[in-house]
Symmetry: C2
Subunit: 405 residues, 2 copies
C-alpha cells in the first residue's frame, strides 16, 4: 500500500479501448490498496491533429493561443479515463493543470513548473478518489494556460510525485524497461532492474528515448523513485533511483548509439587564443547546438578544430564555417555526416580504471577506426564511421558482458 | 462605434477556412471602431466526435466528466480564431468559460449562468484586444467545468452582452434573419427587419429554430438588443428587441409550422373534478411534455379530453392512457400522429380584434378542417391534418399579406 503516481503516454491512451485497459490497470492498483494519481498525455495523434488545424490558419503557430489549443488534448483524455474508471466502479475525478494549480512561468510552449498546489489532489485522495491529472500543462501566475513542451507529461508526473512525496512515480510506456542497449540492434540486450539517475540522464542524452531528460533531472533533484514499465504487459520494469539504493554496482549499464550527428573540422587554424569562440560563436548565434568538441594542437603552430552538430544543421553549419574561414586563415573545411556516436555508460567507471582502454581495444580488434573521443565521469563516447554502427554496439555490449546481470 | 458581442455557431467555424472568414468579419468590425467580444461554439461535428469517443467507453455518458470532455470543443475554436485574428494583425486574446469566470450552478450538462465576472474581459478590451470567449461553458462555485447544454453558446453571448451592457448581441448563423415563415414552404416569405422578444419566443417555441429559447428569454429579461445575421453573406439581419423600440407595429410577424406533434383523445370521460390531473399526472411522470390541451364538456355528463405530445412520445403515451382508461371509465382512446400545428404570431393581435376569425375563415375557404385551437395573447395555433401543412401555411401567409412589410 503506497502513494503512486502513474503516467500513461499517448500510445497507451491512443483509443477508447486502450483507455479502458489503462482504467483496469489503475483499478488493480486501487484494489491492492494503493492511492493513485494518474497523469495522462493526449491520445496519440491528437496533438498533431490540433497542430495541423492551427497550421492551416497560420504557419508555425506559437505563443499563448497554441497552449490554449494543445492543452485540450490532455483534457479529452482525463475525461475519458475518468468515465472508464467510473464504468469499473472506481471513484475518480479529473483535474486540468489549471484546476490542480500547477503553476508555471509564462514561457508559453515550453513553460517550467514553479509550484504545485497539492490541496485539491489531497482532498480528492482523502475522499477515496483516483485523481486523473492532465499532463504537459499548467497555468501561469496571470491565469493563462501554459504547456511544458512536447513530452512534458513525464515532467508533470515527476513533479506531482515530488510535491506529494509519492512512494513511486511509474512511467508506463511502450517498452517494458530500460535496456543495456537497443534490443533491435543486439538480440541479447538485457532489461536493467535498476539504474541510477545519472546513468539514465547520460543514456537519454545519448539517444535512448525511453524518458525525457527533464523528467529524469527533476526526479534526481527531488529523489523521486522513477519506474519505467510497459502499458501493454505486466512486469517489474526498470527502477531509476539514486546510487545509494543500488546495492551491487555493475561496471557498465549500457551502450548507446546516436546516428543523428554530423562532424565538421576546420583544418590548419592558427593556434592562438580566442579561436574556439570565433568558430563556435556564430554557430551558437544560429541556434545550432554543438555536442562533442575536439581540438588538437599540431607542431606547426596550427590546430585542427573538430565538432559535431545535429545532422539537420549540417549544411547551415558548413556555410557558417565558410564565412569565417578566410578571417581565421584556416587551410580547409571538412564535413562528414555519415558518422555514428557510440557510448558506454556506467557509474562503475568511477571506481574501475581501464574501461576506456578495454573499449578502444575491442573496437580496434574489429578494425573500427575511432575518429573522435569524448569522456565524462560516467560515460565514454567515440565517433566512428556510420557503417560500423551495429558492429560497434554489438562488440562493446559483448566485451563488457552486458547480457549478464 | 459601439460595444458588440458577436456569436458564431458551429457551422460558421466548421473548418480553418471558415474560421479565417470569421476573423475577417471581426476585423471589419474593429476597423469600423467597434469593441468586440466574440463568442464561439465548437467546430461543427466536434461535439459529436467527442460524444462518440465517450460512448465507446460508457453508454450514455453524463455528469462532471462529460463537461470536462465537451468543453474542449469550444476551447479549440477560441485558440484557432485568435490565431486567425493575429494573422490579420488584429490583437486578440482567448478566454475559456473558467478564465472569464462565468459562474454557473453545479447542474452538469445543463448548468445555468449565475454570474459573469467582467473584469478580465474589460481589461483586455481596454488594452485594445478583441476578446474571444468559449461559449456553452462555465465554472461552478467549486471550480468544476460545467456546460450549459447544447446550443448554450447563444446564452453565453447574451449573458455577456447583458453583463457588459453591450450595444448589441449579434448572433451569426446560417440564415440571414428571421422570416415571416419558412422560405422553403413559401417562396415570398419575407425577412423581418425587427421583431419583439415575445414574438421571437413564440416563434422559437413553435418550431422556428433560428435561436435558442433560453437566449431569447435572457435577452428579453435584460433588454439586450439581439440581432440575427448570416455568417456567409452581408446584410442587416433581424433585430430582436422590446416592443417600444418597434415604431410601426405590424399586425402579424409570422406563420409557423410544427409537424413534430401527435394528438391523443380520451373519449367519454366522466365530467368530474380531477379528471385532467388523473390523465396528465402519469404522462408528466413519464417525463413526456404536453403541449396543447383541449377539453370539451358534452351534455351527457361526459367529456372528451384531447392533448398533443411530441411524436416520439406517441406510443408511450398511448400505453399510459390505456392503463388509466379503465380506472377513469373512458369510452375509448383515439390517437393521431399525422397532424400539423400551424400558428400565427404577432403582438399586433393585442390591439386588433378579428384575427382569429380571419384565420379560421381563410382555412375554411380552402376546406381545411380545424381539429384543435389554442391561443395566447400574441399567438393563435390550430391543429389540422398533416396533409394540409403547406397549403395552410401559404394560405395564412397570403391572407395576412406577410410578403409585404
Amino acid at each position: 500500500m503506497g502513494l503512486l503516481v502513474q503516467k500513461f503516454g499517448g500510445t497507451s491512451v491512443a483509443d477508447p479501448e486502450r483507455i479502458a485497459a489503462v482504467a483496469r490497470r489503475v483499478r488493480d492498483s486501487r484494489q491492492r490498496g494503493d492511492q493513485v494519481i494518474v497523469v495522462v498525455s493526449a491520445m496519440a495523434g491528437e496533438t498533431d491533429r490540433l497542430l495541423s488545424l492551427a497550421n492551416e490558419i497560420v504557419k508555425n503557430p506559437k505563443g499563448r493561443e497554441l497552449d490554449v489549443l494543445l492543452s485540450t488534448g490532455e483534457q479529452v483524455t482525463i475525461a475519458l479515463l475518468v468515465l472508464a474508471l467510473q464504468a469499473l466502479d472506481v471513484r475518480a475525478r479529473s483535474l486540468t493543470g489549471s484546476q490542480v494549480r500547477i503553476t508555471t512561468d509564462a514561457a508559453h510552449n515550453k513553460a517550467r513548473i514553479t509550484n504545485i498546489d497539492t490541496k485539491r489532489i489531497n482532498t480528492a485522495l482523502s475522499e477515496g478518489e483516483v485523481v486523473v491529472v492532465a499532463g504537459f500543462q499548467g497555468m501561469s501566475e496571470s491565469g493563462d494556460i501554459t504547456t511544458l513542451g512536447r513530452g512534458g507529461s513525464d515532467t508533470t508526473a515527476v513533479a506531482i510525485a515530488a510535491a506529494l512525496k509519492a512512494d513511486e512515480c511509474q512511467i508506463y510506456t511502450d517498452v517494458d524497461g530500460v535496456y543495456t542497449t537497443d534490443p533491435r540492434l543486439v538480440a541479447d540486450a538485457r532489461r536493467l532492474d535498476r539504474i541510477t539517475y545519472e546513468e539514465m540522464l547520460e543514456m537519454a542524452s545519448l539517444g535512448a528515448k525511453v524518458l525525457q531528460i527533464r523528467s529524469v533531472e527533476f526526479a534526481s533533484k527531488y529523489r523521486v523513485a522513477l519506474r519505467v514499465l510497459s502499458s501493454f504487459e505486466d512486469g517489474p520494469g526498470t527502477l531509476i533511483t539514486s546510487e545509494e539504493n543500488i546495492m551491487e554496482e555493475a561496471l557498465l549499464s549500457g551502450v548507446t548509439l546516436n546516428r543523428d550527428e554530423a562532424k565538421l573540422t576546420m583544418l590548419g587554424v592558427p593556434d592562438r587564443p580566442g579561436v574556439a569562440s570565433t568558430i563556435l560563436g556564430p554557430v551558437a548565434e544560429a541556434n545550432i547546438e554543438v555536442d562533442m568538441i575536439v581540438q588538437n594542437v599540431g607542431d606547426d603552430g596550427t590546430t585542427d578544430f573538430t565538432f559535431t552538430v545535429h545532422r539537420n544543421d549540417f549544411d547551415t553549419t558548413i556555410s557558417i564555417l565558410e564565412k569565417i574561414s578566410a578571417e581565421l586563415g584556416a587551410r580547409a573545411i571538412e564535413g562528414d555526416n555519415k558518422i555514428a556516436k557510440i557510448s558506454v555508460v556506467g557509474v562503475g567507471m568511477r571506481s574501475h580504471a581501464g574501461i576506456a582502454s578495454r573499449m578502444f581495444a575491442a573496437l580496434a580488434n574489429e578494425s573500427i577506426n575511432i575518429q573522435m573521443i569524448s569522456t565524462s565521469e560516467i560515460k565514454i563516447s567515440v565517433v566512428v564511421d556510420e557503417k560500423y554502427s551495429e558492429l560497434g554496439v554489438r562488440t562493446l555490449h559483448s566485451e563488457f558482458q552486458l547480457e549478464h546481470a
